[in-house]
Amino acid sequence: MTSAFKALAFAGALAVSTALSPAAFAAKTDITVGAQLEPPNLDPTSGAAGAIDTVTYSNIFEGLTRFGPDGSINPGLAESWSISDDGKVYTFNLRKGVKFHDGTDMTADDVKFSLERIGAEESTNAQKALYADIESVEVVDPHTVKVMLSKPNGSMLFNLAWGDAVIVAPETIANNATNPVGTGAFVFKDWVQGDRVELERNADYWGEPAKLEKVTFKFISDPNAAFAAVMAGDVDAFMPFPAPENLPQFAADPRFRVIAGSTEGETILSTNNKMPPLDNPKVREAIAHAIDRQAIIDGAMFGYGTPIGTHFAPHHPSYLDLTAQSNYDPEKAKALLAEAGHPDGFKTTLKLPPPSYARRGGEIIASQLRDIGIETEISNLEWAQWLEQVFKGKDYGLTIVSHTEPFDIGIYARPDYYFQYDNPEFQKIIEDLNNTADPEERDRLVKQAQKKIADDYVNGYLFQLANTGVVNAKLQGVWENAPTQAADMTAVYWED
């Protein structure tokens, strides 16, 4: 073979491969993401529903800071910041050239508007308390803004990363519920209520543009329909997947990849601390020892979940493993019940919201409690009834629910919260925590808080909800963990 011929052959092969490449190597640029819950509206700054954040967080709306996939706090619309020595003044340097989807510039005025709006009297922000320390916001120049706090708050940068503190424009705020206008890498295109929300790539994005051209969120509430949709390829990802029992089947299928990351959801047996006999710490301790966490994880979650012994996420660096303090020991539980004056047990209610962790977990717990003599009357409630009776009305003995907000141990300092745990010592710990910015001191206080609620056996601590989902095996850049409720699509792409 002459070298000339070789060169010719090479050129020919090259020509063929070049001719083929657009068809053969063009990666898909659109994605359909399945989700169980449809958001009631699309404005994360005025609604509590987590489903709003799933669709909008970081895709449409961005805040000054933002969560990374690992839960770290990264720069968002603020490229840098400095904190005064007394911890009361935060100076944010905003990115330049950031535009809202309607073409207007994002400036310090918008930041001032957004942050002041949270604290306003008529504000319906779901996390108002997180930003209560913000006293005033001052515009220094179009790209610098000063946030003045009434007292130091060590979690402020973290709080500002929540979907509730994203930056919105005063001109478009009125319509954000149905036509959200943000600064994110995707632009809102269409919302077919009851079916889907469509987003398109933002061509004028300030940062690295999204790799996907189109994102469709499809809402499928029925777990069977969700399963069928994934199997048929109608959706490319489903997170979180509502029925853990189907995950092994996806895992065995090479077309899919199963995700089992962490979430911020502490799943607990919430206990009405004011309702006799549950107001007796000995009784609550007995309940804690009657619970076999592993049986609940295996039976209700098909093995997905991490046991917890206090209200704190195990993947957090300050987590204290206190599961041994409430180990499964029915004999001890019976002895404790007798000590508390209930040797023959007692009756109470167990009101369960719809998720399968609650319904199935409830039946398992009822069986475990029956073993030590506690009879529970189970009632399965819809979310609206649960919120009305249990969460607002506090008319319950026991219930099971997952608290999915990140770093939410502070709820135990609210005596009017539905557990009705009223302990001044604990409230003091949280107050100190909120006033401390020093990382080491904060770590110590957080651990103290975890220990305190575990010592008081406020609730039964079951397991950390796993971020279980299923995605197409060729999909890259999907968040494994869920540090906040989000389906961040900005870094997602199809592998060739």
């Binding site: 777990p223 029925a243 029992e245 049986a295 295996d298 009822a366 069986s367 189970i378 399965n380």
Partner: protein, 289 residues
């Protein structure tokens, strides 16, 4: 149409007719199987259904667990047995409510035929009847909370107009009969006539309708339990077993198959029995065949 006198010889005839009606016999056997399972479950089930054995979950049918185990490792055969008890109890009491309230209302309306009272009673019944039964059941459980008792009340209420209408219609034709006229001439009051002459003569009709309503009651209980409004855990119920099996149908189909079959066979059995009873009690129909 059902005014035949129940004499000893005729009674024998009914029994013979029953034996010669295959649909009735099949229905009777099916019903008795479930009735027996339900009664037996009070004293014995193969396993304790309140005892969960997570390690033993989702086992397929075998010699130790005839119908396999569910997601909590409970024995499905035992659950179907107790489910039969729940279904039968709910349907039986609900039909009972329908008969105890509906029949006197119907008889009263017939006795006072054409009066304002008749109108009020029957229009009130129409009102209840016009309202979708399941919707009413959901309303009742939404207000008073989900429980077996509320399911019974809900299903019972929708049975009232069925029996009221039936007994009024049948009683009206009887009021024209000579023996009723004779009783009236003899000075008997309307209430006494209704109790002594009308009621015994519409009993056959009520039994047939009762059987059909009984099967509808079982379906309604399963439907309510399926949407989470009927019997609450830990008491097993066929409807709830089905709804819990739903997401596992691909990995453990036996979870849905057995309670599903139980519902099918009980309802089928009761319907066949009802059909057969109608054939047996209705001489005209029998002769026509």
């Amino acid at each position: 149409m059902t005014d035949m006198n129940v004499e000893p010889s005729l009674r024998m005839g009914v029994v013979l007719a029953a034996l010669r009606t295959p649909s009735f016999m099949i229905g009777l056997v099916l019903t008795l199987v479930f009735l027996f399972a339900a009664l037996l479950s009070f004293v014995w089930t193969p396993y304790d259904v309140t005892q969960l054995e997570i390690a033993n979950k989702l086992k397929t049918p075998s010699a130790t667990h005839w119908f396999g185990t569910d997601a909590f490792g409970r024995d499905i055969f035992s659950m179907v047995m107790i489910g039969a008890r729940v279904s039968i109890a709910v349907a039986l009491i609900a039909v009972g409510i329908g008969i105890v309230i509906g029949v006197p209302l119907g008889l009263l309306a017939a006795a006072r035929h054409g009066t304002l009272l008749d109108e009020i009673v029957m229009r009130a019944n129409d009102l209840v009847f016009a309202f979708p039964a399941l919707l009413m059941a959901i309303m009742i459980t939404a207000v008073f909370g989900p429980s077996a008792v509320n399911a019974i009340i809900a299903i019972g209420i929708f049975n009232i107009p069925v029996f009221a209408r039936l007994s009024r219609g049948a009683a009206l034709s009887l009021w024209q009969r000579d023996y009723v006229l004779a009783a009236r001439v003899a000075g008997k009051g309307r209430t006494l006539i209704s109790a002594e002459h009308i009621l015994p003569n519409i009993t056959n009709l009520l039994i047939v309708q009762g059987t059909i309503q009984f099967s509808l009651g079982i379906l309604a209980e399963a439907g309510l339990a399926y949407v989470g409004l009927g019997t609450q855990p830990p008491l097993p119920s066929w409807g709830r077993m089905l709804s819990e099996a739903q997401t596992m149908i691909y990995i453990a189909p036996h979870l849905a198959i057995f309670p599903g079959l139980a519902i099918v066979f009980t309802v089928l059995g009761l319907n066949l029995m009802g059909d057969g009873l109608r054939d047996i009690f209705d001489p005209k129909l029998r002769r026509a065949r």
